[in-house]
């Protein structure tokens, strides 16, 4: 297993996932089916989460395949398209979570939310297809030219590609923009801490209540703090991705960074175990003094442990920064 393998393993998720999600969403849109809409929203949120490691592993793969036989221009074009499409994927995932939250109260997402998801999921599916295509060109140049090697291919664009290039950030300029000022970097890192505080304050509080501490608090109102925790998560994904794109070499060779990403993905699965089973319904009705079922306590405990792991591993990225150097 190396970065190139990891990237190959993950990079089809955003492309196929955004199309599957869009398909379900469109059927629900025209068929006015709320269950299907909910399913499509869950897919968008899950795909957005797994797009993060797909994006990150691309930087590692890039380091690995450098050399003769691989066109630098094609790699950069792919990176540019990924740097654009990922933000649309994140926006679609965020909008889907907002819609799921709204649907919890009123049984369906608001009109503006459905309209926004429609626009963003369409754009995301298109941009992800473009990212997939530009990535495929790196390793499958024979598809277009019959040549086995892309090393000396000149990048040519169709009209759509040429149009999109206007919006795709140059990778070097993007990373320079993230790192040129120590004040901007410090601001991002401070925001990353504020996001962390919001997550710990809200999700952590809910977890310890479910585990049986602070039983005087009913669960349903505590759960209403969750948008603040999700806002914290959103801040941290945005600042995290920007910091990563600014200084990828600080992260891709650190074992702590990849384990942190693994813990984040496991938190996604944990959220699935919480919301897509009976557990959420059971704990939501808990009044002051009520005890949660053991299944809920286990999910809450694993959430706490995984967040602790995320913080710990985040702190150890720096001292372990070159643990993976030379292993690939």
């Amino acid at each position: 297993m190396n970065y190139a393998h990891l990237h190959l393993l993950l990079n089809h998720i955003p492309v196929i996932g955004s199309i599957v999600g869009l398909g379900l969403f469109l059927i629900s849109f025209f068929g006015k089916n709320q269950d299907l809409r909910r399913a499509s929203y869950i897919i968008f949120a899950a795909v957005a989460l797994f797009t993060i490691p797909a994006f990150l592993s691309g930087f590692g793969a890039q380091q690995m395949i450098k050399g003769p036989g691989v066109s630098d221009d094609l790699v950069r074009r792919h990176e540019s398209s990924a740097l654009l499409s990922i933000w649309f994927m994140m926006a679609t995932g965020t909008l889907a979570l907002i819609g799921l939250w709204q649907a919890q109260k009123t049984s369906h997402p608001s009109r503006w939310n459905v309209a926004a998801v429609l626009i963003f999921s369409l754009l995301t599916a298109g941009l992800m297809a473009r990212t997939g295509n530009t990535g495929g060109d790196i390793r499958h140049p024979e598809d277009q030219t019959g040549k086995a090697s892309s090393g000396d291919r000149i990048v040519t664009e169709g009209p759509v590609g040429a149009f999109l290039r206007n919006f795709e950030p140059d990778p070097d300029k993007f990373s320079d923009a993230m790192t040129f000022s120590k004040w901007w970097w410090t601001f991002m890192m401070a925001m990353h801490f504020i996001g962390l505080i919001l997550i710990v304050g809200t999700v952590g509080l809910l977890d310890i209540r479910i585990m049986g501490f602070l039983k005087q608090l009913p669960v349903a109102p505590l759960h209403r703090l969750l948008p603040w925790g999700l806002a914290g998560l959103g801040i941290n994904i945005a600042t995290g991705l920007m910091a990563f794109a600014g200084r990828p070499d600080n992260y891709i060779f650190s074992i702590a960074f990849w384990l942190k990403m693994l813990a984040l993905m496991l938190l996604g699965l944990n959220a699935v175990a919480f919301y897509l089973t009976d557990i959420f319904g059971e704990v939501e009705s808990l009044k002051a003094g009520d005890d949660a079922p053991i299944s809920a306590k286990l999910v809450a405990a694993s959430s706490l442990i995984l967040w602790f792991a995320v913080i710990t591993l985040g702190r150890y990225i720096q001292p372990l920064t070159d643990t993976l150097l030379g292993t690939n």
Partner: protein
């Protein structure tokens, strides 16, 4: 202004050197980790109480949130202990940096506000929820501002140091 010689003495001590130079995973970054955990406990719990007082999730009963102050004080305790260790590791770096005093001032104000919230708003069980909110509103607002200031100033520390060690100016 001359840097006091005592900073040098601390830096040369065994514990200070071990904290800086140990390759053990329980060295410097372990202390830093618990400084971060402590921060998330004290600020996270305090922020939730502040937000609730300011009207967020207003159906959470207010009085039981008093238990969160225990978490805040534990978090603060962790951070005083780990903070002193970090200071032992880099006394010159911290104490010659004006931002360090900015951070400490914000923490002082935030902790004072937390203490007042604990005593004046949550300490009087005869207060109705409306009375608690009326009394705590201004404190809650300032509490959030002070903690934001403390976290921001803390994050700025590494960018604003004037010395790395005794006799070793930053950027020199």
């Amino acid at each position: 202004m001359a840097v006091p010689e005592i900073f040098n003495t601390i830096e040369q001590s065994g514990i200070s050197r071990w904290l800086r130079e140990s390759q053990s995973i329980f060295g410097f970054y372990f202390i830093l980790l618990f400084h971060t955990i402590g921060m998330s406990l004290v600020v996270g719990a305090n922020a939730v109480v502040d937000l609730r007082i300011l009207g967020v999730a207003s159906d959470i009963p207010l009085q039981p949130l008093k238990r969160l102050f225990a978490i805040m004080w534990v978090g603060l305790g962790i951070n005083v202990a780990t903070g002193l260790l970090l200071l032992t590791a880099y006394p010159t770096k911290a104490l010659t940096n004006p931002d360090f005093y900015v951070k400490l001032s914000f923490i002082g104000l935030a902790v004072y506000t937390m203490w007042r919230l604990n005593n004046e708003v949550f300490g009087d069980s005869s207060l109705s929820e409306a009375a608690m909110i009326a009394k705590g509103k201004v404190m809650a607002r300032w509490s959030l501002i002070f903690w934001l200031g403390a976290v921001g100033a803390g994050r700025l520390l590494s960018e604003t140091s004037r010395y790395f060690f005794y006799g070793h100016p930053a950027g020199g």
